[in-house]
Each structure stands twice: as structure tokens, then as C-alpha cells.
Symmetry: C2
Subunit: 457 residues, 2 copies
């Protein structure tokens, strides 16, 4: 008899699950149905700032595969189909067809919970003024871009981005790229939250400022002002007011777990849906993956809920393989991340010194500057590296990088080293590539190991 896999959520985690389950089992054996409450499936949320900037065009370029593509692959996708409830006892979900306004009960044998995350809404007065946008869905991106395009070059002169995380800095880039005077406001003392150590983050903030973006730190926005037409005019209502023709609220994201909680799925201490290493939830037959789940950090062994497309894809793939009859485990994360603002690249992996210390490691850290190519290479740019190690075990624990083109992707070699629990002594002689256009004879990755080795004695 044909079983049915129901997938809640049609983005990275959900569609990866669908695709991999489909690959593992025939159409006769497994029917695969995806319910997506919105209009978009399988899209690159990470590309949205670049669409707003006008670097990527049209919006459809951010779509990876269409409903028709999936249909041809034996996967049924229904848009505007919102799952309202999960009944784990009867193995059914209640789905609302939002276009028709009709509810339907659909039975499942396996259920994938891949509801993702939503923009975190802070209680900011005036958030509903015209010209104030979130930046999470493709619809958000389209709205911002349309506002800029329709207004014309004259109207939108000043942008304020509230939130100094990755989306915040990428949106600052987008506005700056369009020639709009841009202010980036962070509630934290720096940018990128605690993903960089404080002193290193401070140096990064200076570089962002040097690009021509105004960065305001330790500023909590409680209020946004508008004119009589209900159109935004400024961010802030106290002493400090930042005039704005367009405002982005990028104050983080929260996992969508309400439906899971109501259904009785265990929620982890990180706030994400608890899953085992096979992406199984606490209720048999129900799987979960992506932004909405809790995963474990390989270095602290603690639970984390991190919203990255890479994890959604990999976890979805693993769940799909397992539903499809395979047996694969998700081995946890290092919280590797990368971004850029104009010509300035930034990346991190593993633990900062502060995180490592909090996790109980006897952490030591080194900060140094190097170059992206041989020093004499004309296009060589500065890159700054911070690296963290554990004193007793001499293991590399983390790295942070910012600098010019070619700097940040080096984080991958460091992530591989950390993943494999390398000591700095082993790492220092690792056989990495060298030619003058690509690095100095000691690649900055190896210099990091050497500096840590010197520090550890």
C-alpha cells in the first residue's frame, strides 16, 4: 500500500526532505505532498538583499525550482495551503486552502515539520508606518524593491536599518549600493551580535564605517515617527532621531514552533523543536528540520537553534534519506557563517574566545593582520584574523576573519580543521596551497595555527 509523506513548509528543509525521500522510494511506495502556506517555494532567502540592491534581477532568479519542476519529479506541492493542526494520534493534519477558504483533513504516514522561522517583532511604536519593512520573505524583498523603484532616485534619500546581524549589514549594503545614505542601528555594542569577539567586532565596525555606512551601536529603537500621511520620516523619538525615507526592521528571527508545541512535540531549551540526530522529533512518525529545529553544537555539545540555509538543506536531506529508507545522522554544527558589505568580507566558525570560556574551555586567542595574496601582489588586500584555541588540549576552537576580497572564504579551511578536532601543532604543517596571487607562502590559516602555537608555548 502506498504510504504518504506530508511536508509542512516548502522551502529549503521541506523541499530537501521531499526530494531525498522521493529518491529513496518509488511513487507506488510513497506519495509526497508538500503544503506551503505562502506563495513561494524553494527560494534563496539569502539572496533577497541583492535583489533589493539591484545586483540580482528579476526576483524569479532567486527561485531554485518551481511547482512544475517538483511535479515532474513526482512531488505534489500545494501553495496557499496552511497546516492549522497536527493530530499525532490519528496521524492527520488539518490543512486550510487559503485561496478557497476550505479546510481539509489529510492523513500521513510520515510528517516533516519544516515551518522555518519568522521575523522577530519587537514592540516598536510606528512599525506599521508606510516605508517600514521586515526583510524575511520574498514578498518583503519585493515590497522594498518596489518602494525604491517606484519612488525614483529622488524620493528615497535616507535609509535606516534596525538590527546589526547578517541581514542588517546586507541590507545596509543594498541601500548603500543604490546610492542611498544608510544608517545601521545595532542594539549591541558592535555588529553581528556575539558571533565575533568584542575587540575584533569593534575593528570590524570601523571598517564598515570606512565604507561610508553610518553605524550606530548600543541604540535600542523604541519608536518610529511618521508624517500625517502615515509615511515614515524618522527612526527614534528621544534625543537621537535618525531621519529615514525607508526603514528595515532586521531584529532577528524566531523559530516557528507554535504548531509543533500544540501538537505535543517536545521543544528544546534553545527554543527549537527537539530532534534526535536522525531528525526524528519526540513523536513517532514526525520529523523536523531547518530553522525551526534545535541542533547541537559540536564544540560545546550544547543545544543551539541557528537559522541558516545550509543547515536546512543538510538536515532536510538527511531526514529525506532516512524517510526514504536510508540511515544517516546529522553530526551537528560549528556555527560557520559568512557575509559581505560592499568590498568588506566577514566570516566566523566555531567558538569565539568569550563563547569558549563560557563553555568551560581554557581559551586563548590571537589577533593578527595578514594579506589575501602575497604582500607584493597588486590586488592584495588586508585581512584580519582572530583565532581561538584550548590551552590543555591545544585544539583549535574557533576563527573570525574580516578583510578584502578573498579573505572570508578561508574560513572553510579553518572549519574543516575544527571539525576534525585538529591541534594547532598538527594544523601548522597542513599542506595548504600557495602561489603569490592566492596567499603568502604561509597562508593566513597556517599563520593562525603558528600564532596560537607560539601563544601556547
Amino acid at each position: 500500500m502506498t504510504e504518504r509523506l506530508v511536508v509542512i513548509g516548502g522551502d529549503a528543509a521541506g523541499m530537501s526532505t521531499a526530494t531525498n525521500a522521493r529518491r529513496g522510494r518509488s511513487v507506488d511506495d510513497l506519495e509526497v505532498v508538500v503544503f506551503e502556506r505562502g506563495d513561494w517555494i524553494s527560494f534563496s532567502a539569502c539572496g533577497e538583499p541583492y535583489y533589493v540592491a539591484g545586483i540580482v534581477d528579476p526576483l524569479e532568479r532567486l527561485l531554485v525550482r518551481s511547482v512544475e519542476d517538483f511535479a515532474r519529479g513526482g512531488i505534489t506541492v500545494r501553495k496557499q495551503a496552511e497546516v492549522l493542526a497536527i493530530d499525532a494520534g490519528s496521524r492527520t493534519v488539518t490543512v486550510r486552502d487559503r485561496a478557497q477558504g476550505r479546510d481539509e483533513v489529510v492523513a500521513y504516514d510520515s510528517l516533516m515539520y519544516a515551518t522555518g522561522a519568522s521575523a522577530r517583532r519587537l514592540p516598536i511604536e510606528g512599525s506599521n508606518l508606510r516605508g517600514v519593512h521586515e526583510m524575511h520573505t520574498l514578498d518583503d524583498a519585493r515590497a522594498v524593491r518596489a518602494a525604491l523603484d517606484e519612488a525614483g532616485a529622488d524620493r528615497v534619500k535616507r535609509a535606516v536599518v534596525v538590527g546589526g546581524g547578517y541581514v542588517g549589514i546586507e541590507m545596509a549594503e543594498a541601500f548603500h549600493h543604490r546610492g542611498i545614505a544608510t544608517t545601521l542601528i545595532s542594539a549591541d555594542p558592535h555588529l553581528l551580535g556575539e558571533t565575533l569577539d568584542a575587540e575584533f567586532a569593534e575593528a570590524f565596525v570601523e571598517e564598515v564605517r570606512a565604507l561610508g555606512i553610518t553605524v550606530v551601536t548600543e541604540e535600542r529603537v523604541a519608536c518610529i515617527q511618521g508624517d500625517e500621511d502615515g509615511r515614515v520620516t524618522a527612526v527614534g523619538c528621544g534625543d537621537q532621531v535618525y531621519p529615514a525615507d525607508v526603514v528595515i526592521l532586521a531584529t532577528g528571527t524566531v523559530p516557528n514552533v507554535e504548531l509543533a508545541r500544540t501538537a505535543g512535540l517536545r521543544i528544546g531549551e534553545s527554543g527549537g523543536v527537539w530532534v534526535d540526530d536522525h531528525q526524528r522529533t519526540s513523536i513517532p512518525g514526525i520529523w523536523a528540520a531547518g530553522d525551526c529545529v534545535e541542533t547541537h553544537h559540536r564544540l560545546t555539545d550544547g543545544p543551539v537553534n541557528i537559522h541558516l540555509g545550509t543547515y536546512a538543506n543538510r538536515q532536510g536531506r538527511i531526514a529525506g534519506i532516512n524517510i526514504g529508507g536510508g540511515d544517516q545522522a546529522f553530526p551537528g554544527v560549528l556555527a560557520t557563517a559568512i557575509s559581505k558589505v560592499m568590498s568588506l568580507e566577514v566570516a566566523r566558525t566555531g567558538l569565539t574566545e568569550a563563547e569558549a570560556t563560557r563553555a568551560g574551555f581554557k581559551a586563548v586567542a590571537t589577533t593578527f593582520s595578514s594579506t589575501t595574496s602575497a604582500g607584493y601582489w597588486p590586488e592584495s588586500t588586508r585581512m584580519h584574523v582572530r583565532a581561538v584555541a584550548d590551552r590543555p588540549s591545544r585544539r583549535i576552537l574557533g576563527a573570525q576573519i574580516f578583510g578584502g576580497p578573498g579573505a572570508a572564504k578561508r574560513i572553510d579551511a579553518l572549519a574543516m580543521a575544527i571539525w576534525n578536532e585538529m591541534t594547532v601543532d598538527d594544523m601548522v604543517n597542513a599542506d595548504l596551497s600557495y602561489a603569490p596571487p592566492f596567499s603568502g607562502v604561509w597562508d593566513p590559516v597556517l599563520v593562525a595555527a603558528r600564532k596560537l602555537q607560539e601563544l601556547l608555548g
Copy 2:
């Protein structure tokens, strides 16, 4: 009593030894003297093609540190000082002051043998014609550049580079960069010898041709023609003749081991001076490092003699640390290499499928194309990857890459994976970085693991 370290050879291996030994022991404890037979010390040979191209200027930019720099650090360097003989019994060397024409016997307590490599000289008729150059020393680079500059843009219209290795392709770039019609002649069926698998190398050759460089393969040059003034006119004397105003002979390099052999040092089967993992030779008190030594390949466990500045620096550092009272071992190599020709990057690490099979592995290999950024990113370029794994152990054994800007440096993440003996199953979920300007959501490094996983079942 003060001991003396004598270093033979003032480039990467020798100067790294000197610097690290100096760091480990005080001036009262250890005198450090370097004898260099030529005029240059501590220079970037890898930068020479870029000086010829005019990308790096002046030549002195390729010098890392000067005799005066070393003197300030407590290291005596003598140029034009050629060591003619080593007497291991009496622990002395005979040094000729080439400027004065005087010989001197100098005692040592420790001796570092770091004589490097020389250009391989094939018996080619006409190699001594004017306009025919080797490309190994800074003097070679200066001579070629001077010939181009003096001749003016009009005179040198056609260049022929004999030898399809890294130096050959980089010199082809140099000439092409200067607007000179360039022919690259390889005796092998492809370029870069056996460092790439044949079918992959073939595709790479096509890309080099697409850049506008004429590539001739399987052509053994036995003769070079000149005019009555003794100036080169063409390469080849048989059916195929390649007109040339300037010719580079880049037919490989050979380790300088004669002095070592005469002194009774054991020479390994690779042709390099045998050393243990601490860089000690077969004779007590004598150390060796760099292009002239044999090292071991981590995957085959066999002996290799590979001429790379990275190894020279690392081995020299280790020898210096050990001479300085430390205890470090050189852990072997993966034969990682990287290069570029104009906008085309190329890199490799570990074993090719052919090498792996020869070494007794049950090798499988996959070849695929990906992009350097998200597919929709405007500056995204194609990159081509070949990856090799061992069937029974499922370990990743090697990788080869060519493609546009950003492609080749990814070899470092693969080198780290191979260094750590990762299985493709572990590798596929490694937490590498992702953002649209830097890669697709599955970085090509992870796609390589995924493709190998699929191949292995």
C-alpha cells in the same frame, strides 16, 4: 662555549632554519652563519613570472628580507659564498668567496643543507642562443624582463615556452599579459604533467587555449634555431617549427644533491637527500630541508621530492626549531598546488585517480561542474571539480579544480579534509560557509563529497 650553525643556501629553507634556530638559542649559545653562492637571499621565486609580466615591480619587491635585516636579527649571511665540500668527519665545510676567489675552511657544530633545486637542462640544440632563457633564479627573471623591456613592444612579437608545468603556464601568462603571441609546448599529452587526471587535464588545456594561448602537446623539443647573429628565431627543427623572438625553457627542476652525495649523505629513492621526520640527514649534525630533500607523501607513504616554497619554509622552520632545542616533526605532504593563467585558476591536492590506483587504492572518481558563487550571482563563474575517493574506506583521497576567480583556493578545505583522513560521509555535512556571493548553498567542496557518496552507494 658558543656553537656554530652553518647554513648552506640562503633561500626559503635555509633562512627559515636560521631564523628559527636563532629564536631558540641566544647569540652566546649559537652563532648562525649562512653561505649563499649567489647574489640573492630570501626571495620569492614563485613571484618571478609576475615580475616578467610587469604585474610586480620592481624586482626588489620579491625580496623578503635583506642581509642587513638578518644581521640585525643576529644572523650572518655571506653572499657569493659557495660551499665546495663538506667534511662530516671533522665537521667543517670549505667555502669559496667567489668575489675574492679565496677558499676558507669553516667549522660547524650543526650544518643545514638547503641547496635547493636547479633548472633541469635537457639536451636541446641551440639552448645557448640569445633570447633563450631558463626561469629559475631572480637573475633569470631579470634577464627575461630586460630583454622584453629593451627590445620594446615591436621586437618581441612571439614567445615560446617549452614545458607545461606550473612555471611554464605562469610564464605563458606573463607573455600573454604583455601582448605577446604565446605558444606553450608540452612534451606530455596535457599540461601540468600527471598532477591532474588525463580527462580533466584535457578540459583544462581547452580552457587555456580559450584564453588565447596556443598550446601544443606531445611535442618534444630537440632543437632551437637562430639567425647568424646567434639570436633565437624558432623552436623546433623538424616538420613543426614555432617562430619565436623569446624562448623560455621551463622543463622542470632537479634537486641539488651533488655536494651531499660527495659528503656521504644518504640520497633517497626519489632523488632527494634522505631525512627523518625531524629533518636530520643520515649523518649526525647535518640537517636538510627544502627542494633538495626527500619527504613522504601522507597518502601513499612513499618518498617524494617536490619543489614547493611551502615545504621549504615549513621544513626549514622545523629544522630550525629542532636545532634551537625544540622537538618538532614534519608530518609529510599531500602535493597540494595552485596556479593561475590569466583569469583561469587551477589547483590540486592528494592523489589523482591514476596515482591512487597505482598506489594500490580502489579508487573511484567523479567530475562535475559547479559555480564559484550562487548561480544567480552576477560575477559567478564556472568551476570544474574532480574528486577521488577510496572505495573500501570511503576516504577522500584527492581533488582537482579549475575555473574562474574564487575556484582554486577551495582546494584548501579539501586538503584539510584529506589531511584528516575524512570519509566522504563525514565530509558531506561539514559546516562550511555559505552566502550567495561566495557559493551555492552546497559549496562545491561539499558537492564533491555528495557525488562521491552517491558513487560509493
